[in-house]
């Protein structure tokens, strides 16, 4: 029995650790650093119908315990991704979660049709939360009616399970989650980046050419934990949690909040080996807290709690 394995719709994984979309390219770059077959799965960069060049540079800025990015969904288009990128992942025999984006419902539907038909693609991650392009789907991500409508259509077009990736830039994340659940989503991915900005104090001008960007990294983990906690107690869909995870302890915290699997993004830039290192460390931590099967962690935070102080 493998104590780390987790099973989500379309994603039978030997451990819950998945690199997050956009932070791992199409996999081959990190394949130069370690054997990707150790991963639970991999999320590939957002695919759009046509290729996109993305935003002008600078595209990243550093913030306290975080970073801003405004890549702008650069990608070669769904056709090239299916022909040239995805096949490179075949040797690793890990589930592939295909992140998709678009400007119109039609584009989302067409991309879904194509990419979900790829034999190596295990599930589709519907990105309705990219804050960095006027038409990156964020318009779907902040209005729950259009989110539900898009989910319904994408689900109909997809031959694989569909995970809807939620934006944290909303007043009521539970309402959004309930709407896409009702619309037939198989799972949720949360959270995408918070919209942020940084100015060069000397010039008073934005660091990013795009001015605003998506805030990621440990800085946003408390927001991610809160949203996953709220949503998991109201929604019965499995959640792929993400937002600031950088170590095995963070993985346990996020699963305790309600996640069934955990995606790691920004931390890959800090340490390219972070995913294998987390996977290696998890069993020892499970021993510390007396957990056999990692999936037992999911949602344990909702049990009655005691203050950490008196538990010393």
């Amino acid at each position: 029995m493998n104590r780390l394995n987790v099973n989500l719709p379309g994603l039978q994984m030997k451990n819950p650790i998945i690199p997050a979309s956009g932070c791992f390219g199409f996999g081959k770059e990190y394949a130069k650093w370690y054997d990707l077959s150790v991963l639970g799965g991999v999320t590939i960069k957002a695919a759009t119908l046509e290729g996109r060049f993305g935003n002008p540079t600078p595209r990243v800025a550093e913030t306290e315990s975080g970073m801003l990015n405004a890549i702008g969904l650069q990608n070669p288009g769904v056709k090239k991704i299916m022909e040239q990128e995805i096949p490179e992942l075949e040797p690793y025999h890990i589930p592939i979660l295909a992140n998709i984006a678009g400007s119109t419902e039609e584009e989302y539907i067409e991309v879904t049709k194509q990419i979900s038909s790829h034999p190596l693609v295990s599930a589709v991650e519907l990105n309705i939360s990219c804050p960095n392009v006027k038409e990156g789907g964020i318009q779907f991500g902040t209005d729950y009616k259009s989110a539900a409508s898009l989910t319904r259509k994408v689900k109909a077009a997809s031959s694989k399970p569909v995970y809807v990736k939620l934006s944290p830039n909303v007043a009521n994340i539970v309402e959004m989650a309930l709407a896409v659940e009702e619309a037939g989503a198989d799972g949720l991915s949360m959270i995408n980046t918070l919209i942020g900005m940084k100015l060069d104090w000397k010039t008073g001008t934005p660091i990013l050419a795009n001015k605003t960007g998506g805030l990621s990294g440990p800085a946003i983990k408390p927001v991610a934990i809160r949203m996953i906690y709220e949503v998991s107690s109201k929604v019965s869909l499995p959640i792929i949690g993400m937002g600031g995870v950088s170590c095995a302890e963070d993985v346990i915290e996020m699963m305790s909040a309600g996640a069934s699997a955990v995606a790691v993004g920004t931390a890959n830039f800090v340490n390219p080996y972070v995913c294998p290192e987390i996977i290696e460390k998890l069993p020892a931590l499970l021993d510390d807290i007396g957990i056999d099967q990692i999936s037992e962690l999911t949602g344990r935070s909702t049990v009655k709690w005691k203050t950490p102080l008196s538990s010393r």
Partner: protein, 256 residues
């Protein structure tokens, strides 16, 4: 392409806010190509997460020692400048495509042009070239005298002309104002610095062959995040990644 925990041999200020950092460790063995860079973590518990790309300025293979020169300008490099001898520094590298031997062997004469913190990699490049019997000369541009560094060392390798924007040392002006005479024997051009400078150099050296090393803000440093792209007409994709396809590109290959 690896992660190394190197030991600080020395880390001292050699010019105004310019630090010379010597690091040693087995990993140095791999750092043989000038123009490649190390992606440096500035601290262990720091709130500054992103690594800083710093060019390889010199390498001593016997001592397994690599030298980096950096300007302590922002918060990360200032933190790096506080590292004491004996402390560890976490680096990725060597990263990127540097000045490979084909790149170096363009001709018998080479003109190396650098601006500000674009100067460091030219030292290692110049050394490799003179080893190969190529005649090198340098044009090095600085803001002002106090910002200049390593001049004697460059002079040991070849004729070195210095420009400063305030005229406090060498020729008053930009690197392009000093290139003229050195272009006469039609050297191949190697230049490192901010985009604006590279553009000017490219124009000034129009007609000559050469290579440019670009700069951009980076995330991953290894080709995965698409932070550092630069447009090009020479590739079907329409772009290159400075961190992994570069930082060194053939003159004219990328749109500056």
């Amino acid at each position: 392409m690896k992660k190394h925990l190197l030991t600080v041999v020395s880390n001292k200020e050699i010019a105004h806010r310019i630090f010379e950092l010597k690091l040693s460790g087995p990993g140095v063995k791999m750092m043989v190509t000038p123009g490649q860079f190390l992606h440096v973590k500035v601290g262990e518990h720091t709130s500054k997460l992103l690594r800083r790309p710093l060019s390889i300025c010199d390498v001593n293979l016997e001592k397994e020692e690599v030298t980096l020169l950096y300007r302590a300008q922002g918060e990360g490099t200032i933190q790096l400048s506080e590292k004491q001898s004996g402390e560890k520094v976490d680096v990725l590298g060597p990263l990127g495509n540097g000045f490979t031997s084909e790149t170096i062997n363009l001709g018998k004469r080479a003109l190396l042009v650098g601006g500000g913190i674009g100067v460091p990699p030219l030292y290692y490049l110049g050394k490799k070239m003179t080893d190969k019997g190529i005649k090198v000369s340098f044009v090095l541009g600085f803001q002002s005298k106090k910002d200049s560094f390593y001049l004697e060392r460059f002079q040991e390798l070849g004729e070195t002309r210095v420009t400063t924007i305030d005229g406090s040392l060498g020729i008053n002006g930009f690197v392009t104002d000093a290139m003229g005479p050195l272009l006469e024997d039609e050297p191949s051009i190697y230049s490192v610095g901010p985009a604006v400078m590279l553009k000017a150099v490219e124009e000034k050296a129009a007609g000559l062959d050469g290579y440019l090393s670009l700069e951009e803000r980076m995330g991953c440093g290894i080709g995965a995040c698409f932070a550092c792209v630069c447009p090009t007409d020479t590739r079907e994709s329409g772009y290159v990644k400075i961190c992994s396809d570069g930082p060194v590109f053939k003159m004219g290959e990328v749109v500056l």
